[in-house]
Symmetry: C2
Subunit: 343 residues, 2 copies
DNA sequence: TTGTACGCGTTATCAA
DNA sequence: TTGATAACGCGTACAA
């Protein structure tokens, strides 16, 4: 029960070194003054016995764990993977251990329960909320930073991405290349990400005086199927209505579009133009490359980790809202219709 | 220090309910017999105060955590992501919490230190070793299951994949389609995965009486660059030597090959044939689709989790070695040269 | 400079 | 059926 015979405790070290446990503790934590002689003796004993601090016991008395919990909605998404990587690198450098947990298929109550459990296991938390959000981070009463999230309440520290601006860049790119009948696949009005991207699209169209044909806007969840079915629906429209270019609301819907076009034997950037969000494998390496909005994934993780460590360091001047800029990766999936006209 | 004023302990509950803490503990754990009356009183107090068990303290005395630690080399790899997902689903169902940790850029000593730290935080461990391996799981003295790993020592429980068989399937596929000058890109002889895949390739060639031209075997680490540079090297060979088909040792090298071919304007499955390992996004959705060996990722995670829980349940009859079969996903990246001949 | 003793929140043992 | 109390391993105020 509890104690394994192999486990070496501070007591064993003390006995071996012939000192009191408090002395061992002092040496281990580098506090107070300890004579060099005893310090050597203690260190030797630690080495010989292979002593390792019991983190549990330390946290028990100090209330600190030097551990950060990161919560993501899903591990099979390279966006999350990159954010995790960025956060981990930063935290490791700051002496923290980062543990990752996924809330895939979680019910809200479960997450609340879990967060209260975790509150003893970690000093702070980094959360990439799912969409729609199924986790109750209000149950967490320690420092918390939300990543890729619009600040839900005044007192939460959140890092967001300029989704509206990204959609605007994509729409501009289409318009600049002569497109006017532009489709938009995926997204739910009012939704934090998809909704804002839709808004960016609509506003940019309006700014250029181009009316949005509602038949070309296919709402839906951010999954592959939405893109797959959506673009097929658009292609089935009469030619004079059919869009010349389509914007996919996120990586999965974009992949769905590519899949559908591939099956139909249509050439992207030729028969139809396509643009989307997130610089995934297919966007980068399929032919033609897909013009996309690239979010600064690694940097978002790093930034979140930085803000969290500042919070953990009891810093007060931490920005509650941080907006990260996106970048347009221009490739060959958007055909230049102006050139084509002059041919 | 340590205690947060908001934290409610078992003592507070006991006081509120007017009973001893041992009684509260009994109610909470459903042990021994407790009168219904006191049980109600205790439960009411728990509810009113919003009491939550301190996991740390429990682990402190029981030595159990009901938590499993999973260690992966990298979060930005969909293979790992899928394995994690499989393991997590299984463990969650079994009442365990799974926390994931990555050893990216770790030095061996660091990992040893960390594992000893973790030994107090988790009951068991699931490890997907990196390649080459930079972690010292020998420092872990509790139940451990290795995933996608050839059993390093007799007493480790390991789940492996039939890499040699996979390479054989790919080679057969090439030969069946009339290829004889087949290139192999990536892999280091003797390496656990790449080495075995190379072996599978060589043996299959031998079994068909086709000599392997060593100029067509490009050794190298399992990264994108190896594939990129490797296939360019092969294409630079005189036409009579140049391979008609190439097998890439893993997903990254395959992606490197695709990138290089794309840049050179060569059409896969037409100008040159390509096949690889792992059913990634590009293999599935680029045109043409790439013929690959698909490893049962989710199932590997589940199987690993299953074995671990059996180990944790003190079961003795747990298979130390489990081989999972792979599957050939036949697509259009391997050209049929026989048909071409008759044209 | 070093040692003693208490407390962190819980479980488990024993006595009542 | 319940209560008191000794662990679990460590940090730290206080005494020596």
């Amino acid at each position: 029960m509890g104690r394994d015979s192999r486990d070496v405790t501070i007591k064993d070290v003390a006995k071996r070194a012939g000192v009191a446990i408090s002395t061992v503790s002092r040496v281990l934590n580098g506090l107070d003054k300890v004579s060099e002689k005893t310090e050597r003796r203690v260190k030797a004993a630690v080495e010989e016995l292979g002593y390792v601090k019991n983190t549990l016991a330390v946290s028990m008395v100090t209330g600190q764990t030097k551990t950060v919990m990161m919560v993501v909605p899903d591990f099979t998404n390279d966006f999350n993977g990159a954010v995790i990587q960025g956060a981990e690198a930063y935290l490791k450098q700051q002496g923290y251990t980062m543990l990752v947990f996924s809330t895939k298929d979680f019910r809200e109550e479960e997450s609340g329960q879990l967060f209260r459990r975790f509150s003893k296991l970690a000093d702070g938390m980094l959360v990439v909320p799912s969409n729609p959000d199924n986790i109750e981070y209000e149950k967490w009463e320690k420092p918390l930073v939300l990543i890729d999230c619009y600040r839900p309440k005044q007192d939460y520290c959140a890092i967001e991405v300029d989704n509206m601006g990204g959609a605007a860049l994509l729409t501009e790119e289409m318009i600049r290349n002569g497109h006017r009948r532009i489709g938009f696949v995926g997204g739910i009005p009012g939704d934090s990400h998809g909704g804002r991207r839709m808004d960016g699209f609509r506003r940019t169209m309006a700014a250029h005086g181009i009316p949005v044909d509602e038949r070309l806007v296919i709402e839906g969840v951010h999954f592959e199927h939405t893109g797959y079915a959506g673009i097929r629906k658009l292609l089935a429209l009469p030619e004079e209505i059919r869009p010349t270019g389509v914007i996919a609301v996120n990586n999965l819907t974009c992949i769905g579009c590519i899949k559908a076009l591939s099956e139909l034997g249509l050439v992207i950037g030729e028969d139809i133009s396509l643009a989307g969000f997130d610089d995934h494998l297919l966007a980068r390496y399929s032919r033609p490359g897909i013009t996309v909005i690239d979010r600064p994934t690694i940097e978002m993780g790093e930034k979140g980790a930085e803000l969290l460590t500042r919070l953990l360091g009891k810093e007060t001047e931490v920005p509650v809202q941080t907006v990260m800029e996106v970048r347009l990766r221009r490739r060959q999936s958007v055909k230049n219709l102006r050139e084509a006209d002059t041919e």
